[in-house]
């Protein structure tokens, strides 16, 4: 089954086959990073633009490394972005980048749907590197890739996602991806951090982390940002750690080989203890490594789809 989409906007928009294709392709790309010369000429002569409206070192660097290992040229643009200051519109910025004959825009934006709006206004590829609370597809793809690599399959797995689901694009993308591939997902968070109607996607909801950990094959721990939104109620930090923090004591009662994931950067002692972050169940650094392979696969596939259309 070929890849036909010029953009990657979110996992909601992908079929299970398309998700599998990205994962399979990423598997082939993973080997490239193990070579002495970590570079292939697949995107030689292509230009990828990292267009970041939100500061993010990890994701930007990961995309940059991925693009460079494919021999693409990478340009980084960070846009100072405040709702007060009115500058060039998003679409105008996109069209200017397109006029530079760039081939791919990798965009991080604080507004949900920004990547969708850009993608439908441009002929060149748009890869969503996180938009508001909406989606962060490559993060979920690398999470799922890591799980598949560790456990062998996704279908039938029980995956817990713990933390601020309501304000998390990582959670949303993971929910779409995991449920499409047949995993059972349980969201574990204080009630105020569960967004309305989320059970429509087929996930279960729990506020008892110990109960959830008993049957979970993997737990994806989200980063907690307590300072985020003055209008939204947030749990008290210590109270949160007490009720939902992933600790060695909690893990001791979980399945022995439970896979512990975190999209980073970790708040040690807030959503998980240091012992867990550095412990044997943690695959947090493998996620970072796999992120390169997954992003190489995505950049390769979207640029191939665009070629095929021309």
């Amino acid at each position: 089954m070929p890849w036909t989409k010029k953009d990657l906007l979110g996992l909601e928009y992908l079929t299970p086959d398309e998700i599998e294709l990205v994962l399979d392709t990423a598997e082939s790309f993973k080997e490239v990073s193990t070579r002495e010369i970590k570079k292939v000429p697949a995107l030689r002569g292509k230009t990828a633009v990292n267009l970041f409206y939100e500061p993010s070192t990890r994701t930007r660097v990961s995309f940059e490394v991925a693009a460079k290992r494919l021999s693409a040229d990478v340009i980084n643009i960070s846009v100072e972005n405040s709702s007060v200051r009115k500058g060039e519109t998003l679409i105008d910025t996109g069209k200017n980048i397109q006029a530079l004959k760039a081939d791919i825009i990798i965009m991080r934006h604080n507004c949900s749907g920004a990547a969708n709006i850009l993608a439908r206004s441009l002929d060149i590829s748009v890869v969503n590197a996180g938009d508001g609370w909406h989606e962060h597809p490559t993060q979920a793809l690398l999470d799922i890739f890591t799980l598949r690599e560790k456990i062998g399959k996704i279908s039938g797995l029980h995956v817990a996602i713990v933390g601020d689901i309501a304000h998390s694009r990582v959670a949303r993308s993971n929910i779409w991806g995991l449920t499409k591939l047949g995993a059972q997902v349980t969201l574990c968070a204080p009630e105020m951090l569960i967004p309305p109607g989320i059970e429509t996607t087929g996930v279960k909801i729990s506020s008892n982390i110990d109960e959830v950990l008993k049957s979970a094959d993997a737990v994806n721990v989200l980063r907690m940002q307590f300072e985020r939104d003055e209008n939204t109620a947030f749990p008290e930090q210590l109270d949160y750690f007490k009720k939902f923090g992933i600790t060695e004591e909690r893990l001791a009662k979980a399945k022995k080989d439970i896979v512990v994931m975190h999209p980073g950067p970790i708040n040690r002692g807030i959503e998980m203890s240091s012992g867990v972050a550095d412990g044997g169940n943690s695959v947090i650094l493998e996620q970072v490594t796999n992120g390169i392979a997954v992003r190489m696969a995505v950049l390769f596939l979207v640029s191939q789809a665009k070629e095929a259309k021309q």
Partner: protein, 179 residues
């Protein structure tokens, strides 16, 4: 597609691969320092068979690997059907080895060009020698094979189809006229 003509059958393929193995050993004065790398897909199976023959003759294991050249193709930007990227598996050091690169059919030479570029990224072999099951001519690049199973003069209108047990359930080489 018109009628297909069988050029090689199972027995012939077996003999041809054994002969190539003998030639490789002869040229390289034994099996020491050899490695065999096949180009995905069918080159990999031929490479494994060559390695098995060398073991039979010399009684020694020869490192074998698989190379996917998709990312090195010069027509990647023009490809109509989307190429599937498959795994490259070379889990040994190719530096200072006599590397036998194996493919099923040698035609324009562009695949071999891509393979040579890919191999150079893995290290600096002492030599790279090319072994193919079929050479059908019509080279577009200055490339030739060191070991050829069978030379089959063809026209560009014809296609050469290689079937191997490992991937196709039978061993045969057919030649057919394109529409």
């Amino acid at each position: 597609m018109k009628e297909k003509v069988k050029i090689l059958d199972q027995e012939c393929i077996g003999r041809v691969i054994m002969r190539i193995a003998h030639e490789i050993i002869e040229r390289n004065k034994g099996g020491a320092g050899l490695c065999v790398i096949g180009i995905r897909n069918r080159g990999v199976y031929i490479a494994q068979r060559i390695a098995a023959c060398i073991k039979q003759i010399e009684g020694m294991d020869v490192a074998t690997g698989a190379l996917d050249i998709t990312l090195y193709r010069d027509d990647l930007a023009l490809a109509t059907g989307q190429p599937l990227v498959r795994k490259t598996e070379i889990d040994f050091d190719i530096n200072d080895k006599n590397l036998i690169l194996v493919d099923d059919v040698l035609y324009t030479g562009r695949t071999i060009r891509a393979a040579l570029d890919a191999l150079i990224d893995f290290g600096r072999p002492k030599s790279i020698q090319l072994a193919v099951l079929v050479d059908r001519g019509h080279r577009e690049l200055p490339i030739r094979a060191d070991f050829v199973g069978k030379n089959i003069p063809t026209s560009k209108k014809e296609s050469v189809e290689v079937y191997l047990n490992e991937s196709d359930g039978s061993d045969e080489v057919l030649i057919a006229e394109k529409e």
